[in-house]
């Protein structure tokens, strides 16, 4: 059975590096000290250096040189800094090519970065307060594709005929394979013990209306994902075969100008950030 094979692959999916997990927990705990952060960072060689490189990237535009973890926490804030560490760790597993979706090596990662920065940009443009986790949710929303890709490839004929009936790509995945990449991604992130907010945003990023609650973070990731596919970042076999939710559009008060303004800046943001995130 396909679904059993898929379940086994989800269970066998690489674990999130320990340091990133510990930092996420620390970031959400009250009274965390810089010393605790430094201690966790020291566990993984190169992590402190990667973090400082990120903090100094053009994306954040911090005018002075960030030379220590203490300064990084001060200038970026603890939560934002932890998101950056997660990003540095995630790049290692998300950089490869994805069969089935026709994404060459590096393209899923570029799409992930783009959705993260576009989501933050949209929140700014819409002048809404979105949770700090929005960056990580954007970054990891498609992690399920890493599991599902080979199955999409093997069953591409059935997926094509489902698409020919007018289904969205994620509906075709679910119809043919029994599960879609969003549900798989959520299972992987739950396995990683990531905060619930992120897990839910990943689970419902194609179907925000099916989520039982209303979460601005989810709504913004839903829109940012669609926008990045439209402007050609990480758009492969699935094309634009998704439907942007009219309800989310209304909830956010989204106008064409918001989308287009963010689109005009996204490539620059991705380039600024990815230079600092190149896998060492």
């Amino acid at each position: 059975m396909r679904i059993e094979q898929i379940s086994r692959m989800i269970k066998a999916f690489p674990a999130m590096p320990g340091a990133a997990l510990q930092l996420l927990t620390l970031a959400n705990a009250p009274g965390t000290t810089v010393q605790q952060i430094e201690a966790v960072l020291r566990q993984e060689p190169g992590l402190t250096a990667n973090l400082l490189k990120l903090a100094n990237s053009a994306y954040f535009g911090i005018p002075s040189q960030v030379g220590s973890v203490r300064q990084a926490v001060l200038l970026l804030g603890l939560k934002r800094m932890v998101q950056m560490v997660v990003a540095a760790c995630a790049s290692a597993i998300m950089d490869r090519g994805v069969p089935g979706y026709d994404l060459p090596a590096g393209e899923l990662w570029r799409h992930s970065l783009a959705v993260s920065v576009a989501a933050r940009g949209l929140a700014g443009e819409l002048k809404i307060q979105a949770a700090d986790e929005i960056f990580t949710a954007g970054l990891l929303h498609d992690v399920g594709k890493l599991v599902l890709g080979q199955f999409v490839q093997e069953d591409h004929a059935q997926i094509d005929s489902a698409l020919a009936q007018g289904m969205s790509f994620e509906a075709a995945e679910a119809a043919v394979l029994g599960i879609d990449h969003a549900a798989i991604g959520a299972q992987v992130l739950a396995q990683w013990s990531l905060p619930e907010k992120i897990v839910h945003a990943v689970r419902w990023h194609h179907a925000p209306e099916s989520y039982s609650r209303i979460d601005t973070l989810l709504d913004v990731v839903h829109v940012a994902n669609m926008l990045c596919l439209m402007i050609g970042i990480g758009v492969g076999r699935e094309g634009l075969l998704h439907e942007p939710s009219p309800l989310v559009t209304r909830r956010l008060g989204l106008k064409p100008a918001h989308l287009e303004k963010v689109a005009s800046q996204t490539l620059q943001w991705v380039s600024d950030l990815s230079q600092a995130l190149t896998v060492a």
Binding site: G236, L240, L241, P246, E260
Partner: protein, 157 residues
């Protein structure tokens, strides 16, 4: 020589060059060719109007249809192309599923292109626009031939 045109970019080429652009979603791909002087150009414009981000448009006019299209024609004229001979083809301008007007950047890109061409008395020789697929273009400047790839299928435009 193979010349890749990235999103929000414009490149010209001469006899022997192949201009390539990938992943046209809602973006406009515009191919312009002069068969006599054998020069051609390819624009991959992301957004309809430069007024959304004038600062960006100053540094990178190819990002927008309203500044990118004139830039493409002007660059070709400087290389010896003549307006009356030009063969113009368009691809891309796709949209997501559903009726959500906010997300129809592809449609808006196409509308601005048509207005510009109409004002300048230029007709499209061929087009493959709209829909939900991601498209890739190979434009051979020697012959003016445009090859369109879409979901594994390839054919001339």
């Amino acid at each position: 020589m193979n010349i890749t045109v990235s999103v929000g970019d414009m490149k010209t080429g001469r006899n022997g060059d192949i201009l390539v652009t990938h992943a046209l979603g809602s973006c406009l791909g515009l191919m312009v060719f002069d068969p006599l002087s054998k020069v051609g150009g390819l624009l991959h414009a992301m957004l309809p109007l430069s007024s959304i981000n004038p600062e960006k448009a100053r540094g990178n006019p190819a990002m927008f249809v309203d500044t990118g299209v004139p830039l493409l024609f002007k660059s070709l004229y400087e290389m010896g192309a003549v307006k009356e001979r030009l063969i113009v083809k368009a691809a891309g301008c796709g949209n997501p599923m559903g009726k959500n007007e906010i997300f129809k950047i592809g449609e808006r890109n196409y509308t601005v292109l048509k207005k510009l061409l109409w004002k300048n008395n230029i007709l499209l020789k061929a087009e493959n626009v709209g829909g939900t697929a991601s498209r890739t273009i190979h434009f051979e400047v020697q012959t003016g031939g445009v090859l369109l790839s879409c979901n594994g299928a390839r054919g001339p435009l």
